[in-house]
């Protein structure tokens, strides 16, 4: 037969089959290898974060409880009266005044007082920390170190605690927390969303539904694609020039009377949020355009066919079926903004503030900046604190991403069923 001639003899076919099969096996192995490599690095990353978040810490106290009250080896053994007394006699006058100012000592709980006494009277300081791995494997070395130090106490610490989430900055890593940074991040994201979402979705609707395909719109489109690939630090420089400097009277809040907190000189939450807004704007535009493109033209036609206007068609038919994809993409873009550090550093985010942001004209710091700043500190214990903050940031990001997925599933299910 003609066919068998042009495909070669039976033998040739078989040997060729062998080669074809081998090629498949080789590629499969390559893909398997790269997948495993990616997973390996992911595990390493997680391990290094977890490693620094848990582990032993050698802590030295300036004073022992027995030095405060004879015969008591722990603060928790103190009676209420003894606690109040110790607070009044042993706290330095400045701290005592502040503590009394925040809440009178008489009104505070025992637990509260114990915490204050521990922090300001016993004054623990971290001598050295060990990661989780070292804590589990290098028992000998740790004991040796303790023996050399004499009076140090060894405790197994989880650096990520509830208190850590709600405490503000501190010069003592044992008492440092991420509340200020977390609030800063949330404020920034809020501004970013309020700025980038309406403008991004609006531009996308214009480009996709209204603009005629002229050379100008094509140029615009190309620019948007390029902007989405511009390194974030350049957005930082832009934000510095425009929001912090040029628009200072606006972004610092001094334009609006009654705003007291104008010390930030334009390095405010507003500037930060707008800068990140610019950063995610092209991403939101492109994503929204994709979502609109996915809406079949037949839907638009049938809407026009019964006498709907363009805007009625967009608002009543096109947006309802594309909103899930638009929102999902927006959330993913926001989670990118949440992790951004460089542009905020460039526009001058504060690295050490312990005052919570009170509005859009406040100074701010964010979680990634806080992490960066902690990990750059010389004291080893701050690296553990940074690890804990990383876990908090990762959890926040994962929460955002899964809410995007849940939202998408919910909306598309609703669209399908509409019972």
């Amino acid at each position: 037969m003609q066919n068998s001639v042009s495909f070669g003899s039976e033998e040739n076919l078989l040997s060729m089959m062998e080669r074809r099969r081998k090629a498949g096996v080789v590629w499969q192995a390559v893909f398997l290898f790269s997948t495993s490599l990616a997973i390996l690095f992911l595990i390493l990353l997680l391990f290094s974060v977890i490693d620094s978040t848990f582990g032993f810490a050698a802590i030295r106290y300036e004073k022992k409880p027995s030095e405060l009250m004879v015969g008591k080896s722990q603060l928790s053994d103190f009676s209420r009266q003894e606690l109040e007394e110790t607070a009044k006699t042993h706290l330095s006058s400045g701290i005592l005044r502040r503590v009394e100012y925040e809440k009178p000592i008489a009104d505070r709980t025992d637990k509260d007082l114990i915490g204050i006494l521990e922090q300001y009277v016993l004054q623990p300081s971290v001598l050295r920390t060990w990661g989780l791995w070292a804590s589990l494997t290098k028992q000998g070395e740790i004991n040796e170190y303790l023996f050399d130090q004499g009076d140090a106490v060894l405790t197994f610490k989880s650096w990520l605690t509830i208190d850590f989430l709600f405490a503000d900055q501190s010069a003592n890593p044992l008492y440092a927390g991420i509340r200020t940074a977390m609030l800063g991040s949330l404020w920034i994201i809020l501004i970013t969303f309020l700025f980038a979402f309406p403008i991004g979705v609006g531009s996308a609707i214009y480009l996709e539904e209204y603009a005629k395909p002229t050379r100008l719109t094509r140029l615009l489109q190309l620019n948007i694609f390029n902007l989405s690939a511009v390194p974030s630090i350049i957005y930082g420089l832009l934000g510095l020039a425009v929001f912090v400097r040029a628009m200072e009277t606006f972004t610092s809040g001094s334009l609006f009377s009654g705003v007291a907190d104008t010390t930030a000189n334009g390095r405010t939450i507003l500037s930060g949020g707008l800068t990140l807004g610019l950063l995610v704007l092209p991403i939101i535009i492109i994503n929204t355009q994709e979502a609109l493109k996915a809406v079949p033209d037949s839907l638009r036609m049938s809407s026009y066919g019964i006498g709907a206007t363009k805007w009625q068609t967009i608002w009543g038919q096109v947006l309802p079926v594309s909103i899930d994809r638009i929102l999902t993409g927006t959330i993913l873009a926001l989670s990118r903004a949440l992790g951004e550090t460089a542009p905020l550093v460039v526009i001058g985010a504060s690295t050490f503030i312990s005052v919570d942001p009170s509005g859009i004209f406040s100074k701010f710091t964010t979680l990634p900046i806080q992490i960066y700043q902690w990990s750059a500190r010389p004291q080893g214990a701050y690296r553990n604190v940074a690890g804990a903050a990383i876990i908090a940031l990762l959890i926040l990001l994962m929460a955002l991403n899964s809410s995007a997925i849940i939202l998408r599933d919910k909306l598309s299910k609703k669209k399908r069923m509409e019972a």
Partner: protein, 276 residues
């Protein structure tokens, strides 16, 4: 189906039909030329469409039936590069005059498409939405019911009005599309191959519906199905293409006339299935 045998089976159908009573002209095409960019899709089309009649457009693929149909409610405006010259009159008014808003035209001249395309909303909303965007202020429940009844769909869906329209069968979806067109109370309904995506039973239901609807509406239907044209239409327009792929109106007659005594040879060849 064998088209030759179909042509032979036509006469009995016509025997039952009485002669078409003339009515007033509702739409008039006056030397209409339609271009897509530099390509002329249809040229020199002139015809009158009569009120409360069913007019069928037939002809080989690409001869511009859909193009002419879309020009009647200005759907071509939505296609980039589409231009029209000549005049399309609706009740004597030029649809392409400067001050005419195509949105208003499309409410009065509705359209049903080849592929059933209900809105991805509930059955109820499919009907109500069009009325709402056109500013309807009456009783919506009543409007939904009467529209669905007119489209012969009410009994099948009255218990599941809140259900998504995409869960209906293809034939039901198409009748829903007709119902939603009726709901905005048009005068003319344009149908572009409304039954070509449906099975024979659903098709015959659509055909029955068309005969029912012509009491209240003027209907223009594009079809590739000769039997369908002969069963439902009063008038038939046969379009052809020339060597430049430009379409033109070859013959326009009462349906019976066109099928039994076509004037042009091309017409006869087409309806007897020799090409197309």
């Amino acid at each position: 189906m064998n088209k030759t045998s179909l042509a032979e089976s036509l006469p009995p159908v016509f025997q039952e039909k009485s002669k078409v009573e003339p009515t007033k002209t509702i739409i008039q095409l006056d030397d209409v030329n339609i271009n897509y960019g530099s390509f002329t899709a249809v040229k020199h089309a002139s015809m009158e469409i009569y009120e409360h009649k069913v007019t069928a457009f037939i002809g080989p693929s690409g001869c511009g039936k859909s193009t002419v149909l879309r020009s009647i409610n200005r759907m071509n405006d939505l296609i980039r590069g589409a231009t029209l010259d000549g005049r399309v009159l609706f009740n004597g008014e030029d649809l392409y005059a400067k001050d005419v808003d195509p949105v208003l035209i499309r409410r009065r001249i509705g359209m049903v498409f080849q592929k059933p395309n209900p809105f991805p909303k509930s059955i109820y909303e499919n009907i109500a939405w069009g009325a709402r965007v056109n500013g309807y202020r009456g009783d919506y429940d009543e409007l939904v019911e009467t529209s669905l009844r007119s489209a012969a769909l009410w009994d099948e869906v009255k218990d599941k009005l809140k259900q998504n329209a995409l869960r209906l069968s293809g034939g039901q979806q198409q009748r829903l599309c007709i119902a939603r067109t009726i709901a905005v109370q048009p005068e003319v309904i344009l149908m572009d191959e409304p039954a070509s995506a449906l099975d024979p039973i659903a098709t015959s239901r659509i055909e029955e519906l068309i005969l029912e609807l012509k009491k209240d509406y003027t209907i223009v239907i594009v079809t590739h199905n000769m039997g369908q044209a002969s069963r439902v239409s009063d008038y038939t327009a046969f379009f052809m293409v020339d060597q430049n792929r430009t379409g033109y109106l070859q013959e326009y007659e009462e349906t019976e006339q066109l099928f039994l005594n076509p004037i042009h040879k091309k017409t006869e060849e087409y309806i007897s299935g020799k090409f197309g």
